[in-house]
Point group: C2
Chain length 341, copies 2
DNA sequence: CACGACAAGTAAACCGTTTAACCAACATAA
DNA sequence: TTATGTTGGTTAAACGGTTTACTTGTCGTG
């Protein structure tokens, strides 16, 4: 069965294809009320559905937004099991769909470029989650579409960044623990890489310590993958070998859960024996028991902000912006941190 | 800067565009080793990246697979916060990407059709998660691409279904509780709709009860949204008004978590005061404390199977199959069910 | 009244690939 | 020898839109 095309519509309405195209694209002032009605009627009656491939070929606009999601190193699966990313996508997709855009998700192989995909598909914009090698960003700069970075602190004018103040977050979290009387505070964190989220949180931790005149002990920093599994490992080790700690700050909620379970395996109860503080306030943190005290950020709002930015730029309502949008954070007190005498 | 096209490649290699196209599409036996090498060289040197829009327009193939994710009814956000769906997507995306396909995710508005999107984007195939109105499937049948249903029990030859035996799962779960000595077993479940996953699990529950000569009491069936929130609500109510229950079977893990927390709010501890059984074994069930006893299914394998099927059909390695693939399930004993005397 | 400005619409080129149809040259079989 | 494939290639017409440049007709204005 042949596809209904713009030609059929034009014919039925007794106008040129150009006129139909104008209507489809909402060009103001190119068609009279009268022909507009005729065309709408024809579209309706023929049940016309435009072909985005053709549109994209002709116009270089695809109504397609790419979302890059970090993936595990070993198998190449998306890190979607971390609710932080699924929460983000929820916000992004909902907003984009309402504005006529569709979302193409994908991971990026280590060392691979995302440029290929943006060009192959004529992407209109992209949201990049996760942190990549420098070459990744260099490549990406070559393409001329609005791009939002979610996680990266890379200092490059080609990209919009939507962030929180991670250093402040790390600082507030640690300070909160200190205010509750803790002085031996361990840090469980991802790999501390320059210009990474994790590094900033780590710096915040150090700052709070030094401000309180507490000794920074590198042996209390447990550095590994940002994952539940590594948190578990660290928690077990802490329970076994670092019994003098009274609190642990984990730089992501998923790690904090790991830590809590690891501590429990090692015989320590949270918060009775030891306090744990998380970071992110993913949607599960209200569910998981004991309920996690953590640094709150509104993850869905962050997705929303990313989507809005892209939409506004693409609609011409906003100029390309290479700046940083900082979203607020706050300490969310729940049940895993206890004051000590 | 103008885009590098197949014409540039053809020119540089001194052949026709057709030859280049054949190479790009791996057509065997249309080009000699010699020209193949020339063309590859030209592609390499020019750093040529094909335009999928043009390809899709000309060939009706897009290398794009649509994945429909259920969304919440109130706001239109994807139900991605339910790890069941993110786990599925992990499996699907990884497999598809390795075979050169890309994944377009989207929700579908209530009452809307997915036909539009499949036609607009020339989708090569689709995976449908969630359950929709009949008209949704009717519409979808019109389009001539392989489609996999993940959740639906709809009996229609146009679709491939990849499932577990949900009734068996419900049966096994309930039987397990009965074997542990429970006789007053509540059911917390989603809306029981004909041909839905939830209904099958519910039927399994009833079957196990009647098989054990236990009385089925409709008052012990709590029917609401498949969500943590409703589980919470049900849990609270059970703790308040149904103290004689010794066990609850929740038809999804997320609901089970809600139930557990609701019970706790009502002063009941799991599993000491009451046992809880889940269904799905989402990746969090190993993390959440207490660890959930549940009906295990390999969710990622299910995603993988869906992706594989599409790939095989599209590669011509397999015929369209309107049958059902059943994946195995088993009872995963963890810490939320306790034997009673 | 002549002029330009504007509104409404059209014709046709173009976007980058695929692919059906065709062709030449050479090998093979009858 | 002639018909018959096969191999390796080309040409050019789609595919379904968008958009530039152009044509009309109408109106306001000096």
């Amino acid at each position: 069965m042949k596809r209904t095309t713009i030609k059929d519509v034009a014919e039925k309405a007794g106008v040129s294809t150009a006129a139909v195209s104008y209507v489809l694209n909402g060009r103001e002032g190119k068609v009279s009320e009268e022909t507009l009605a005729k065309i709408h009627k024809a579209i309706e009656e023929l049940n016309y559905i435009p072909d985005f491939s053709a549109r994209s070929l002709a116009s270089k606009r695809s109504s397609l937004i790419g979302v890059v999601i970090p993936q595990t190193e070993n198998d190449k699966r998306l890190l979607l099991e971390n609710p932080f990313y699924s929460d983000l996508i929820c916000g992004i997709e909902a907003e984009l769909r309402q504005h006529g855009y569709h979302v193409l998700i994908s991971g990026v192989e280590k060392g691979q470029s995302y440029l290929d995909l943006t060009m192959q598909r004529n992407l209109d914009g992209a949201v990049i989650m996760g942190i990549y090698q420098e070459s990744f960003y260099e490549e990406l700069k070559k393409v001329d579409i609005p791009i939002v970075l979610i996680d990266s602190y890379i200092n490059d004018d080609s990209f919009k960044k939507i962030r929180i103040d991670d250093e402040l977050g790390g600082y507030l979290a640690t300070k909160h623990l200190i205010e509750q009387g803790h002085t031996n505070i361990g840090l469980v964190t991802g790999m501390i890489r320059k210009d990474g989220v994790v590094e900033k949180r780590y710096l915040g931790y150090k700052k709070a310590l030094s401000e309180a005149n507490l000794f920074y002990d590198h042996d209390l920093v447990f550095e590994g993958q940002v994952s539940y599994e590594y948190g578990l490992e660290a928690g077990i080790e802490i329970a076994e070998r670092h019994k003098h700690l009274t609190a642990v700050f984990a730089t992501s909620d998923m790690m904090a859960y790991g830590v809590i379970n690891g501590l429990r395996q090692g015989g320590l109860q949270v918060p009775d024996d030891i306090s744990v503080m998380g970071f992110d306030d993913i949607s599960l943190s209200d569910i998981f028991y004991p309920k996690l005290t953590t640094v709150h950020q509104d993850i869905k709002a962050r997705g929303l902000a990313a989507a809005r930015y892209l939409i506004d730029v693409l609609d011409g309502k906003q100029n390309l912006d290479s700046g940083v949008t900082l979203l607020p954070i706050s300490i969310k007190e729940r049940d895993t941190v206890r004051r000590i005498k």
